[in-house]
């Protein structure tokens, strides 16, 4: 955000840069600005996202195409500034589309796609990139040319609803139970329908910019073994290292967590002997990680043939190393279905 402020200060970014007093107000002013017909952006992390919690639900409920980057970081308490996924996993049912990226290039590319997705289906999108691991890294990145991006993503022109004195409309009214129920159901249908849009935009982006990340939902990497690791985000780079060196394990990376890629995961995981879900968050009180629970639910009709292992790793920024992943894969052969591993050196 500081760099964007500098771009705006130097006149390189033609935008109004708002500096507000809190993340709560940041998201609130974005809702106002997008409702008034402008494209908006912000970035946040951890506590900031938690402070936005109430506004996140209002944004999706009002069907406003807000886009933001979340630099994934741990939630208090105890206070901790490092990377994990507790912040965005806590917002997984907020009605936002969630896209997790593996590296900085993918984050840039996904952000461009995110606007197109959000504006087409009228739902907000959060692009989730690992805090520190991706936000504080130096990596060669190809920034697409403005002209190409403008062609791919033309000017935002809302035709649905906009705050316009020529055409007065009421946004965010008080709603009784019956229409509330219907509107919420409509929202879920829109999220499900967004799968076609995400897929289309993934192809369109690949054609134009010659870069592609799986089918837009998941990315399979040497997934032709009996054992597979399922994970999200930058740790997949480390897992790919493991996969390359061993001959007995593959990887399925979930890029799009909301909408949840049920069909894609069934296709890629059905019939596997061992499914190891490695994730940087925990569903406290449930006994497993949230991604694990959702994958097991998606694969329920096929669970008899598979053993599911829940690996909780990297909470509060704990390093995840090749040696530990190797160790889990080795030990998984002796583990029982449903076992939970808190992986730490």
């Amino acid at each position: 955000m500081e760099d964007l402020a500098k771009f705006a200060a130097d006149g390189k970014l033609k935008a109004k840069f708002l500096e507000v007093e809190s993340e709560f107000s940041a998201m609130s002013s974005m809702v106002g600005a997008v409702a008034a017909g402008s494209r908006v952006f912000t970035a946040t992390s951890s506590q900031g996202l938690a402070l936005m919690h109430e506004v996140l639900f209002a944004t999706s409920g009002m069907r406003l195409p807000v886009v933001m980057i979340v630099a994934n970081r741990a939630l208090s308490a105890p206070i901790n500034i490092w990377n994990d996924h507790s912040d965005t996993m806590a917002e997984r049912d907020s009605g936002w589309i969630q896209l997790y990226t593996e590296n900085v290039q993918e984050t840039v590319d996904t952000l461009i796609q995110a606007y197109k997705i959000a504006e087409k289906i009228l739902l907000p999108v959060m692009v989730c990139m690992d805090g520190f691991i991706l936000t504080h890294v130096i990596e060669p990145v190809d920034i697409p040319k403005q002209k190409d991006v403008d062609e791919f993503l033309p000017k935002y022109q809302p035709d649905h609803a906009v705050l316009d004195t020529e055409r007065p409309m009421t946004f965010g009214p008080f709603t009784y139970p019956e229409p509330y129920f219907d509107l919420k159901k409509d929202m879920e249908e829109a999220i499900q329908d967004s799968k076609d849009v995400i897929s289309e935009i993934n192809e369109e982006f690949a054609n134009k910019f010659k870069r592609k990340y799986g089918d837009g939902f998941i990315e399979e990497y040497k997934n032709d073994k009996d054992t597979v690791i399922v994970a999200l985000g930058s740790v997949c780079g480390t897992i790919k290292e493991v996969v390359d060196k061993r001959k007995d394990v593959g990887l399925v990376r979930i890029k799009c967590f909301r909408p949840f890629p049920t069909e894609e995961l069934i296709k890629s995981l059905k019939g596997k002997k061992t499914i190891i879900v490695l994730e940087k968050a925990f569903a406290y009180g449930l006994g497993v990680g949230p991604v694990f629970a959702e994958i097991r639910n998606a694969l329920y009709p096929f669970t008899e043939k598979s053993k599911f292992i829940s690996v909780i790793a990297g909470l509060g920024g704990v390093d995840i190393r090749v040696i530990q992943i190797n160790d889990v894969v080795d030990k998984s052969k002796q583990m029982k279905d449903g076992e939970v591993v808190w992986m730490k050196t």
């Binding site: 507000v20 007093e21 107000s25 940041a26 974005m30 600005a33 007065p168 409309m169 229409p179």
Partner: protein, 291 residues
């Protein structure tokens, strides 16, 4: 505003909204906080608002207005007035952080509180704007309670302490004064703050036919004082010969438990405040230059 909102009979808040829009005209966007006006005027799929109107949450109408204004400016629209509107709960208490932020940044919006002196929409819980001695559902009068223990939070003075170029108080009992202030505020660029006193028959426990009378008496007794602070210069817009506060208090059920000695405390506070306002005017202190 269209007629036929679902407010209670004798609602002061809906009068404030009507008077506001009469003064602003149609080139305006209203960003409203959750509260009485929001629930009664926009029951889906109907609406009473004939101007663009948006409600997001309870405590963010000022931030929403900041965003709307920024978008209009980015689109080259520099004429439409953007209003952050809410009750005392939404503006004085739970949404005060957003109000303070917009005032501090001097965002080009009008921030307007309609003050019915309680969280009226949710069941008359006390707010920071509830007056001393009033019985509210969370500060009920009882054998060991004389109602709210604290004085009313002075938001207009807090607004001017942010450096706001135009701050005013108003009352639905004096529509011409109110509309004059709105029109004046519209001429000013930056964050402006208006605080409108709007009696609530249900919350304050008076007959719904008496709303205007109660509003006028609040001003005539000094329980609510009408003034403006234009570019830092404080000036009362009404200087009546103050009536005894008892005339205002005795009309309302929320004060019926008050003992004469408590009423005396209130009277003394009003007298002292009125005298300080004399001093403020005489001295010509510029409140915006105090840093």
């Amino acid at each position: 505003m269209a007629p036929g909102t679902r407010t209670c009979a004798g609602c002061g808040a809906v009068l404030a909204a009507r008077m506001l829009l009469k003064a602003t005209g149609k080139d305006v966007i209203v960003c409203e906080a959750t509260g009485c006006m929001e629930v009664t005027s926009t029951q889906y799929p109907t609406t009473a608002w004939k101007v663009p109107w948006i409600h997001v949450l309870f405590e963010n109408s000022a931030s929403v207005a900041t965003g709307v204004k920024a978008a209009l400016e980015a689109q080259g629209n520099n004429h439409t007035q953007v209003i952050a509107y809410g009750g005392d709960g939404g503006m004085v208490d739970i949404g005060f952080g957003a109000v303070s932020g917009a005032l501090e940044r001097d965002d080009d919006i009008m921030i307007i509180t309609y003050d019915n002196e309680a969280y009226a929409n949710t069941g008359i819980q006390r707010s920071g704007a509830t007056p001393f001695g009033a019985s509210a559902t969370t500060t009920p009068a009882g054998l060991e309670s004389q109602g709210k223990k604290q004085w009313k939070k002075n938001i207009p003075m807090i607004a001017v302490a942010h450096g706001s170029k135009y701050v005013a108080t108003a009352s639905i009992g004096y529509p011409q004064d109110l509309q004059k202030k709105i029109k004046k505020a519209m001429q000013v660029k930056g964050a402006r703050y208006l605080h409108i006193h709007a009696p609530c028959p249900i919350g304050w426990a008076f007959d719904s036919s008496m709303t205007i009378q109660v509003a006028k008496l609040a001003v005539q007794t000094g329980m609510w004082m009408l003034y403006e602070i234009d570019d830092g210069a404080f000036k009362r817009t009404m200087t009546p010969e103050l009536k005894p506060v008892d005339e205002y208090i005795k009309l309302q059920g929320r004060f019926k438990h008050l003992k004469p000695e408590t009423i005396k405390i209130i009277q003394e506070r009003i007298n002292a405040s009125w005298k300080e306002m004399d001093n403020l005017e005489k001295c010509g202190v510029n409140l915006r230059t105090i840093l």
